[in-house]
């Protein structure tokens, strides 16, 4: 297994947000996590790379357990794409992508830039390499942040609602980059309500509610024949919300 999530618990004060979440991912798999707001989807993703350390439970990446000690090296294997991009404001697009290899992977300046240009090309942003983040559209910023993640050559990329801060006409360009990565065999764990991506690229949908996984299975099953009433009700809302 590339990723093993084992019985993750997390509380904020008295509120138990994650109540024992477990699942595995094989290399090359894409999984989409769905569920109502406040259900702990972001918290779960952040627990997986210890941006928020879990209270209980264990995370294994490629067989190695993530601990407080190996945090920084393990995070290089598990990239994170944020809802609000979080590109480094003071760096040009290409420098945003190059800084990881340069500072963390021991690349020389030239090699890091070469890699950065290559990754920008993968996300279709070569022509914006010299722009600063503030000069990019939201969709371009998100594609740049995906390139920044790719430049770490991670084993796994975590996406936390990568398109939800975008205007609807810009989500397409990000989703198509994600589709492409999935088809190239990148292992991806995506919190998203993008039905298009989920149907096309996901091997499995994980449906969460109240800090637990209540249903999981292939998209065909979840979308066409959900077992749980909760899942069915939620999907009704987002599918019709999308049409509206």
């Amino acid at each position: 297994m590339l990723l093993r999530v084992e019985n993750i618990h997390k509380s904020y004060g008295a509120a138990e947000i994650l109540k024992g979440v477990s699942f595995d991912m094989a290399p090359g798999q894409s999984k989409v996590i769905m569920g109502p707001s406040g259900t702990g989807k972001s918290t779960l993703l952040r627990c997986i790379n210890h941006l928020t350390p879990p209270d209980k439970g264990r995370i294994f990446v490629d067989g190695e357990e993530l601990t407080a000690k190996n945090l920084n090296t393990m995070r290089q294997k598990v990239a994170f794409v944020f809802q609000d991009f979080n590109l480094f404001t003071h760096l040009r697009t290409v420098e945003n992508v190059a800084i990881g290899p340069r500072k963390l992977r021991g690349f020389g300046k030239k090699a890091a830039l070469d890699l950065a240009y290559k990754e920008l090309e993968r996300v279709g942003l070569s022509d914006r390499a010299d722009a600063y983040p503030a000069e990019l559209s939201g969709g371009q910023q998100q594609r740049a942040s995906i390139a920044r993640a790719l430049a770490m050559e991670p084993k796994l990329i975590l996406f936390d609602e990568p398109t939800s801060a975008l205007d609807p006409e810009l989500t397409g360009e990000v989703v198509s980059v994600m589709n492409k990565l999935a088809s190239e065999g990148m292992t991806m764990l995506v919190v998203s309500h993008e039905i298009g991506f989920a149907r096309k690229a996901a091997d499995e949908i994980i449906f969460m509610e109240g800090g637990k996984i209540i249903e999981q299975g292939p998209p065909s099953q979840i979308f066409n024949a959900p077992q749980q009433d909760r899942t069915r009700a939620f999907l009704n809302v987002i599918e019709h919300g999308d049409d509206a």
Partner: protein, 219 residues
């Protein structure tokens, strides 16, 4: 007016000889202040409890007492416990330690104004806290702090004049000496006021250039 020009031209060379002292004092003190200020800002933001408390006490003491008193303490007080400085060194230390407290606070404000997500993204890439600070937070905070830092630099350039009180022959001390020799205090202080204005204006312009040069869209 022309009488003043004659006076100014006659005494200018003697006063100008103090400019290197004034500027040297200023640059040294600002440098000490910047380096120590950076450490203090780091301690106040990321330090554990004891380190935070020490840095906070430092800032409160140096902001809460007059710089002249601090300088007298260093130059006149410390020799009693066997620590002796020459006047220029004492002035550099006093102004440096004082400006460090202010620079630390400005820098701290600038660091805190950098959105949290920047550090989160740095940590998510695999950077440690310190790496994230140096590579991501600091370059942004330094850009944001330039306007306040410029004010502080100009303030301190003028404050170097207090060094005259412990016998550093910078420009104010020289002006006072000419005053007592000629009894033309009006003329001589007008002259050095003009010199300070020229120096502060040049510094302000240079810092403005720097601000423009390093500015980045969106910061």
């Amino acid at each position: 007016m022309s009488a003043w020009f004659d006076f100014a031209i006659e005494h200018l060379p003697y006063v100008l000889l103090g400019v290197p002292t004034t500027l040297g004092l200023w640059v040294s003190a600002m440098t000490i202040g910047a380096m120590l200020g950076l450490v203090l800002a780091w301690a106040r933001i990321y330090g554990n409890r004891p380190i935070y408390v020490i840095a906070t006490i430092y800032v409160e003491i140096f902001r809460g007492t007059p710089m002249l008193v601090q300088m007298f303490f260093i130059y006149l007080g410390l020799p009693e416990i066997g620590i002796v400085f020459d006047p220029l060194t004492a002035a550099v230390i006093a102004i440096g330690l004082n400006t460090a407290a202010y620079q630390a606070e400005y820098l701290r404000g600038a660091v805190r104004s950098v959105p949290m997500g920047q550090m989160t993204a740095a940590r998510a890439l695999g950077m440690g806290k310190f790496q994230g600070f140096v590579n991501i937070i600091l370059p942004q905070a330094l850009r944001r702090v330039i306007p306040q830092w410029s004010n502080e630099a100009i303030l301190e350039l003028k404050y170097t004049s207090i060094a005259y009180a412990i016998g550093v022959t910078e420009i104010t001390a020289r002006a006072e000496k000419i005053g007592y020799e000629t009894f033309q205090f009006f003329e001589v202080f007008l002259l050095i006021a003009a010199i300070y204005v020229v120096m502060t204006s040049i510094v302000a312009q240079l810092l403005l250039l720097l601000e423009k040069k390093v500015s980045v869209p969106g910061l």
